[in-house]
Symmetry: D2
Subunit: 418 residues, 4 copies
């Protein structure tokens, strides 16, 4: 990135949050000679979008885009993750990861439409998000130029601490936040809020009780459960019903929002983990994913109920790979497209209803039913023989033992001495 002023000025589309960092970046980019278009995606975070718009305009943005991506975020990004049972390193439901390609896709669309060759973002140089944003950009717009100020020495050496940003803001008429910053950073969207950095960097110290914004503390949650029924088709929820109240939702955004509400009320989906970033460091993150956690469990249940065992095994492996791709920022990659296709195929018969209760931070599966179930009550019954001859099991076991007996014979009497 050259620091000289361009004529005519190049246009850059900046992913703008309205916060201190990206406001400073906006002004700095102007200083560097760019025409700046700001873009703010509404993916369900709590935000004063109007205020952000005005702020961007007042800071000299040529154009301001505020885009409501919530519905496509749920349908095109969260739903495939639900189908995949996407979970990173056995614990993290990927709420940040899954939002990045959604946000960056629109940013690229705007850049193309506005004839901008540059895009910019305020992600740090140590994190995963820079990668997720930029891989999406390069994949969808190979010729794009990316300006990542937190990786440009003249920027990050100038803004070493928050104090430098504050000074710069004051000097350039950027409104400075009046409330003190929380001693950690957070990222919120429809799927989750993540908390990291600051006092959370010490992996031993417990998270403060007042950290969580999306879920009630389980201790303060209601003393009786809510029972929900979620109906799936092709591996995605098509309806959620509150069993007692009879209330139901049936569009993707409504379903997901309602599950967030229910999960949030009961403190569902809080985790505190150390995870492995793509750049090779371990980091500590705290997440709350109320609706996503409910869906993860419900989907797992209906899937096992309707999917053949061996298909499930293969699909499970694909799901692990999908989660890694997603975490590492490869949503728009040939392999992720391939895997999404395969997983989608595996979900053809994943339909039916799951009843579950949410209570004090936990999701309890209560029962399930499906027109496509592979569960055969008569076959499995201990009381009815069904179309099953128990004698067959003897042969099955003996043939499975052929290999084991051979192995043992070769090992001599090794095992018998145990």
């Amino acid at each position: 990135m050259s620091s000289s002023i361009h004529f005519p000025p190049c246009t850059v589309v900046l992913a703008y949050s309205g916060g201190l960092d990206t406001s400073c970046i906006l002004v700095w980019l102007k200083e560097e000679g760019y025409d700046v278009i700001t873009y703010l995606a509404n993916i369900g975070q709590v935000e004063d979008f109007d205020a952000a718009k005005k702020k961007a305009e007042s800071l000299g943005a040529k154009k301001v885009f505020i885009e409501d991506l919530r519905a496509e975020f749920v349908e095109e990004f969260i739903w495939p993750s639900v189908q995949a049972s996407a979970i990173y390193e056995d614990r993290y439901l990927l709420g940040t990861s899954v939002a990045r390609p959604c946000i960056a896709r629109r940013q690229i669309q705007i850049a193309r439409q506005e004839g901008a060759q540059y895009v910019s973002h305020g992600a740090t140089g140590k994190g995963n998000d820079q990668i997720r944003f930029e891989l999406t950009c390069y994949a969808l717009y190979p010729e794009v130029q990316i300006i990542a100020p937190w990786r440009i020495p003249e920027f990050y050496n100038r803004f070493v601490g928050r104090k430098d940003l504050m000074e710069y803001a004051e000097k350039h008429g950027i409104p400075v936040p009046v409330t003190p910053k929380a001693p950690w950073s957070m990222d919120a969207n429809l799927m989750h809020i993540s908390y990291e950095s600051g006092i959370l960097e010490n992996p031993k110290s417990h998270a403060p009780a007042d950290l969580y914004l999306m879920t009630k503390s389980p201790e303060d949650a209601p003393n009786s459960p809510d029972v929900l029924e979620i109906e799936f088709k092709k591996g995605v929820p098509i309806k959620v019903t509150h069993v007692k109240e009879g209330k139901s939702k049936d569009t993707p955004l409504d379903i997901f929002s309602y599950l967030n509400e229910m999960g949030g009320r009961h403190g569902v989906g809080r985790i505190d983990i150390v995870e492995n970033r793509f750049i090779g460091m371990k980091s500590r993150g705290i997440y709350e994913t109320p609706g996503g956690t409910i869906l993860y469990h419900a989907h797992l249940d209906i899937e096992t109920f309707t999917m053949d065992r061996e298909v499930r095994r293969i699909k499970q492996g694909l799901g692990v790979k999908f989660a890694e791709m997603l975490y590492n920022g490869f949503w728009y990659s040939p392999e992720c497209e391939f895997v999404r296709h395969c997983i989608d195929k595996s979900q053809e018969s994943v339909e039916g209803k799951v009843q579950l209760s949410v209570f004090k931070g936990q999701v309890y599966i209560l029962g399930r039913e499906s027109p496509k179930s592979l569960y055969n009550e008569e076959l499995v019954s201990m009381d009815v023989q069904g179309d099953y001859d128990p004698c067959d099991a003897s042969g099955f076991i003996k043939i499975n033992a052929v290999r084991l007996r051979e192995h043992h014979r070769l090992q001599g009497e090794h095992h018998s001495k145990h």
Copy 2:
């Protein structure tokens, strides 16, 4: 199995529970001309072992073995499963599966020591346990003959329902249970209790509230959490401490029992699932695994904290395979021995302390520390640069994008049209 009487009688070692089924089997085996040695393993189930002993003797057992296997069950079977994060089909912690090779191993030792060529058990012909028992037997004693009455037509056609067993019992002086049988079957050991069959066979119907014996209902559990600290070394717990009370345990059996107590008090570890049996049917099972659930979460946390990302990824795959082997009964197989060795190797540096709370059915990780952590607080810090140059990330991303950009170019302008 011939039904004629042998001279001299062959000796059979029967896995005897003291219940109606195996009592009838004991007498039936005698009728068939066998000398019967009964063997009852104490793996932590609630049982009147003395009464079982007397009952077996009164029914004509030549010898009666009551074996306390609890310590070896924890150390040699549960601990490797904890190291492996063994979980079947993403949900089941394998409490029944892991007990079977432990029980059958001793049965084989007794058979060898007593010169018996036969072993027998009361497992049904549709379940997994018959396989787990018998593969262990064949693996450790290739020449053994196995008598599985529930797969022998002359037996199972004679005892079609419980009524037939009751009649047979009365006729042969077998004490008949006075309390009515629960409308489901259960299997208990130190690690868990499982519930299946009977009214649970309908996958839609909810489990009755009074089913659970090992855990309190979360609704009735204490209103404040207990905070525990578990210390690990080589991937297994070596100490658990109640943080407030200062109480601690440090032998495997004590540690696990204490975690059961804590987990049980707070209703931890209840699941209701449909799973895929090795014989190819889906079945519905309800499990409560209080201590195992706590350990699963604590181990996962300390492992991610201390293990390299890529080792973890490979180990995760091995763990999935291990769980399948364990579920299917292949503990004593060359592949399971190999995988256990590999997993054990992976755990060399898995040590440190995890703090967690148990509350209302849930386990919450609170913090962790380790002398072998690969977590580098300075490296990951957002406030300190550490030994890290953010510019490197640009190259990293651009090289990772090479492939994606090529793919996109080949696909033409496909994506840009999104």
Copy 3:
């Protein structure tokens, strides 16, 4: 299977080869009271089909089916295997395995069409083929009854050796082979010939030079190569051209037959291996797969040329699984259908031309071209920079090293002491 005579007689469809074994089975089934329909599939083996027909009729078959399955064998079974690069245990191209579901599928169609509830075959009780046949039958016709005489004691105890079959044949007017049987057994189809048993059971002894029927000995093969060009589309060959002679073939059966001819002429595709059967034994097999071997190499080449690296990696794993399923007889299973679908999807861009030579038992890839290649000559060139900044590689390497350096630091100076 009851040995009593049924009224009215049940109908059985027997997979009939025309050889001594299945001729005896035909007569024996009649003795057992069945109406026997014989079915002989032409899958490319050298056979006098007319003579086999007459023989079956003369032995009392109610109906005789001779079915030419060659085209569907190539298109529906061999082609998907080529797409999958299906190879069992790194060496065996699955020529027998892939024929079995093709043969059994038609047998089931005939059984359904003729209203037969029984099917029968002459496969032995220790092999893989019994499983491959029967799993196909059960999958496509769940209610079918299977008569496998070599697993029925009254049959196999009566026919212990070949002598017993010969005697039975003479007694029942079954024509007895005049030429002595080779001291091994073989199985031939369009894809390969396999040899096993008899003198080959000693894994140390070398195969006799006169064993091979489908390929010339490399020592006797022509002293100059033939150069072929194979064109692929969606991962399957659509044309093969002899570069010098200009001759070409473009239907599946013609292409495959021509590759067999070329490969056979040059002694391509001979292997001598020990493999692991599904029933848990190791067996020694010798195979010659001329056309299949050529295709395996050519497809691998065009695939790597046109498929993204990471897609290829996932597809490679699916291919290994596919090979296992195929070997074990699970062609008609939900998992194999799923995997075939995924692999087929991966082949969408696998098109282009591969030039290769066949010479003295070997296939040499010479060059390749494709309109869908992901190979970018300018990008990779050592002489042109292309759209690539070498500096990026520094960042790429340094970020990849983050993890390694951390690990080393933790290990202390361990490595430096090497």
Copy 4:
């Protein structure tokens, strides 16, 4: 890298080949103010090491190291790769990849011993080797500084083509090669020679016949095979014997060199492939790996003969991962150390003798024997029943069919309509 002259000068250890490129780099590094130590590894390439030494000294190297690494290259790097059946993308035996960590390890040892903080190499900025060298360096010497001139703009912009290097050489008294450079580049070591770049960059054009230096053309190879017997222990060869001549070798270096000689004589191990580089490009490479190809086949044979099927399956997956790590430069990584440990464990019983012939470019396995074989001739025999009851296979098949029949029933009569 600063271009200013340092006082006192920093020391850099340069991996020096004696060729034009690294000679220019040597002089350029001096110009840049470094003290240069050259290091040339003898890993079996044909080279005039004395001349290279003199050349380096004459160009001003402070010290010159010529290190014979051949024995450790075979024992510590090639042998583990043989155990792993390491093959990249199903074809490439990794002859270049496996040499890199061996070379770089010694370079780091020299750097530490000489107190040098810098290392340098002449690898290009588009290739894999830069990564393999540098990851090894960073892993073993985390504080090291790496100078990669082909990634430094002031260097690569100065030396755009070979002509620039020639001019620089002439100007600085660097001896200029008199023979014209081949229109491709090559890399040779004990394991293989690779050819790429230049005229080979066109993936369609055939390799010239005179390219190959390590193997005879199969067309010119002897008209009769050589028969060898290779004896393995713990998965590595401990002896090779020429069966007819009775000649044998029994040290690692001798064994491997002899296999190279035999393979080379018969034209074994030539491949022409397109492969996927770690940096995301496809490249075309031609390789000849005579001894390595023989060992790959022989090891595969003895391994399948002695290793349990399921262990083999897991080990196969680990081998694929190992090959990727090796290719990508992660030999010295926690995951590669872990996988090498696991693979080594799997090889404990991989011992015995394999007889094979090499002829006209091909390796033919002829037979094998082992004291640890899991092959049971009696068990598998078609003529002897052995300890095997064919009836068991019926139960085995029927239980395996349970799942398939259920699936079919659910699919309705779908399959029967085929």
